[in-house]
Amino acid sequence: MYEILTGPGLWLAFAIAVIGLVVRTVFYIQGLNWKLDRVAYTAFPAAGAKGAIRSILAFLVPFGNHSWRAKPGFTVMFFTFHIGLLAVPLFLEGHAVILMERFGIAWPSMSMGAADFWTVAMLVAALGIAMRRLLLPEVRIVTDAKDWFVLIISVAPFLSGYMVVHQIGDYNFWLLAHIVSGLAWIALLPFTKLFHVVGFFWSRAQLGMDYGIKRGGMKYKSFDW
């Protein structure tokens, strides 16, 4: 079971994710329409690229824009959550071992202490994000089941992974739960709001091009995000 899930299962999950994300990206780009969107996307490639990159970086860097600076608490939660979410599974020793055993790939890894720290930090941040959804009226009104689903499916591999690493409870149960939820998260990337793993870049690039080409970027200063 363990072998199937971490062997072919892993391949399948990755294949679904990659193909799905690529297909959606292609459709997204194909669906951009200079006349309907009223942005001359291809007429000014340099201005467009500059606008796109600035727009992405402004939101990729903590406190890099007015929005992050206006909400420092949320910004800290947001970045802690996302850094933990990406760094722990990518650089966990336990995962590097699988890569070496199964595929013979030597993969860098972080210390167990760092992994523990980021896991707990990420879970605390997730709790904060969940509390925000429950407590703030302006967030509660827009929150729906899909938002909870995405949050739960993202947290599940971390909770279960923590149980596995620290051998709390039934090891085999938590290991299975960890692998299944982790694979599900990967496979669901293209089909849920998790699409934003790539969609964030396309959407930010689009608005950045809008400002870079049409809304003043070519005329005067670049937009102050």
């Binding site: 459709f27 997204y28 780009i29 194909q30 669906g31 951009l32 329409n33 200079w34 006349k35 309907l36 969107d37 009223r38 942005v39 001359a40 007429a43 000014f44 727009s55 939101f59 824009n65 007015h66 929005s67 206006a70 909400k71 949320f74 947001f78 925000r132 959804r133 703030l136 009226p137 302006e138 967030v139 509660r140 009104i141 827009v142 929150t143 729906d144 938002d147 709001k193 699409f195 934003h196 969609g199 964030f200 396309w202 959407s203 930010r204 689009q206 608005l207 950045g208 809008d210 080409i213 049409k214 809304r215 003043g216 970027g217 005329k219 005067y220 200063k221 937009f223 102050d224 995000w225």
Partner: protein, 465 residues
């Protein structure tokens, strides 16, 4: 009733129909008919299929419902932080529902959408800057307005406004004759004080073609005289076209894209006909947006640029002050607390924040210029943008919307608000009427004329020293 006599899916294309709708004071019958107006679901589905492409789909779909857009919206703030005023909620509960139901929506729902689209969003685009995913809800509300207009669910005044553009190629019933006469009249009126002043009409190959807002021609002709005086003072080789002089677009507020195209085409035709080096537009925000920013796309210009460089009045003013062609009498520089209103349509949406501040540096003593907070690209809407000022049905909501600007102005301690935008100017006038905070407001033109050093050769004979 499938379609009403006044309220229906047909655009106003004739003077007769325009008169009928106009004579329905306050749109009483119009709104009554709207309650019975059928939704043309097939048409709505066809529109969605043809125009709802990946950008809008992704925006609707990917919204993380994080609520960061809430505080970006001045309407959310002035309405006691009502969660129903959160931009993401406003668009998801209207356009989002229409899309989810693939157009299978009721009359009642579309009337609700109309209320939200025209009284809960001024399309100021500020929320788009605060969204991590770059979702611009102002753009989406513009799109929603287009769908609603095509179904006949549009505020009475804006149905008329877009009809005006269709019938007169102007937002008000100003004909070519009226316009030319107004120019001649204003030239005559100004001649005595400004010998040699003319308002040259249809001059080919001029340096500048000047375009404006029809209400200047209709209600504020002195604005045209002021523009002429400033061109005269600076020795510009300028002209106005007899046709294609109106650069505004109430049809943009209405979501009537066909009328937008018709209107801006007349301006571009004038540019092609008269071949000016460039075009200068009046002190109006949405007119600049319509003719210089969105217009090229409406008429299908793939580079997204107008046929000739098309600059806002503030750009021209900054240029003549910078180059010294217009000199300000240092003694007349403003020495009272002054603030500046950043128009969403050309500051947030065209990057002109530095330009207007450069102008302030020439006309206001530095210690008297007080910035609003926030300002520049992050300034709030005046409270009356996107057509909000003009819709009687939403006047109470509009008056609440003015509170943000009122408080921003009060915090600066300014006695004078410089508002180089018709919509902002109106909103600030109305907020003074509504709240009586004791401020004055002004366009740039009258201030500049008051402060300019007039060269002797331009003075009337008896004044010349």
């Amino acid at each position: 009733m499938p379609e009403g006599k006044l309220c229906n899916r047909k655009p106003i294309n004739t003077e007769e129909y325009l008169q009928q709708v106009l004579s329905d004071t306050g749109g009483k019958q119009y709104y009554k008919e709207m309650e019975e107006l059928d939704v043309d679901v097939e048409k709505l589905q066809a529109s969605l299929k043809a125009t709802l492409k990946s950008r809008l789909k992704t925006w609707l779909d990917m919204c993380a419902h994080c609520g960061l857009c809430a505080d970006a919206c001045f309407l959310y703030e002035v309405n006691d932080r009502d969660p129903k005023q959160v931009p993401a909620y406003k668009i998801q509960s209207t356009l989002g529902e229409i899309v989810k139901k693939n157009g299978n929506v009721t009359n009642e729902f579309l009337r609700h959408c109309m209320d939200v689209a025209w009284s809960q969003c001024t399309c100021c685009n500020r929320c788009g800057h605060y969204c991590p995913h770059g979702i611009d809800m102002g753009v989406m509300f513009g799109y929603l307005r287009g769908l609603l207009y095509s179904q006949g669910f549009v505020p009475w005044e804006l149905k008329i406004g877009s009809g005006m553009h269709r019938v007169y190629r102007a937002q008000m019933n100003v004909t070519t004759e009226d316009w030319v006469e107004t120019c001649d009249w204003m030239a005559e009126e100004s001649e005595e004080e400004w010998p040699g002043l003319t308002i040259p009409i249809d001059v080919e190959d001029a340096d500048i073609m000047y375009t404006l807002n029809a209400r200047e021609a209709k209600h504020y002709p002195e604005d045209i005289a002021e523009a002429a005086i400033l061109f005269h003072l600076t020795g510009e080789n300028w002209t106005v076209p007899s046709e294609g002089w109106e650069q505004t677009s109430l049809s943009m507020f209405a979501g009537d894209w066909e009328a937008c195209t018709m209107q801006v085409k007349t301006v571009y035709d004038a540019i092609e006909r008269l071949r000016p080096k460039r075009v200068v537009g009046t002190e109006c925000g949405h007119a600049h947006r319509a003719s210089a920013i969105e217009g090229p796309y409406w008429v299908g210009r793939p580079d997204g640029l107008p046929p000739r460089p098309y600059i806002h009045y503030v750009e021209w003013v900054a240029e003549v002050l910078r180059t010294g062609r217009l000199k300000i009498d240092p003694a007349k520089k403003l020495k009272k607390p002054v603030t500046l209103q950043d128009s969403c349509n050309y500051v947030r949406n065209h990057g002109l924040a530095d330009i207007t501040r450069e102008i302030m540096s020439y006309i206001v003593e530095p210690e008297y210029f007080h910035e609003m907070s926030p300002n520049r690209e992050h300034n709030y809407c005046c409270g009356g943008g996107g057509g909000f000022n003009g819709v009687g049905k939403y006047r109470p909501q509009r008056n609440v919307a003015l509170i943000k600007k009122r408080d921003q102005i009060l915090a600066t301690g300014a006695e004078l608000v410089i508002a180089p935008c018709h919509n902002c100017w109106d909103a600030i006038r109305d907020l003074e009427e509504e709240f009586e905070i004791g401020i004055k407001w002004s366009f740039l033109k009258p201030l500049l004329i008051e402060m300019a050093i007039v060269p002797d050769h331009l003075k009337p004979a008896e004044d010349a020293e």
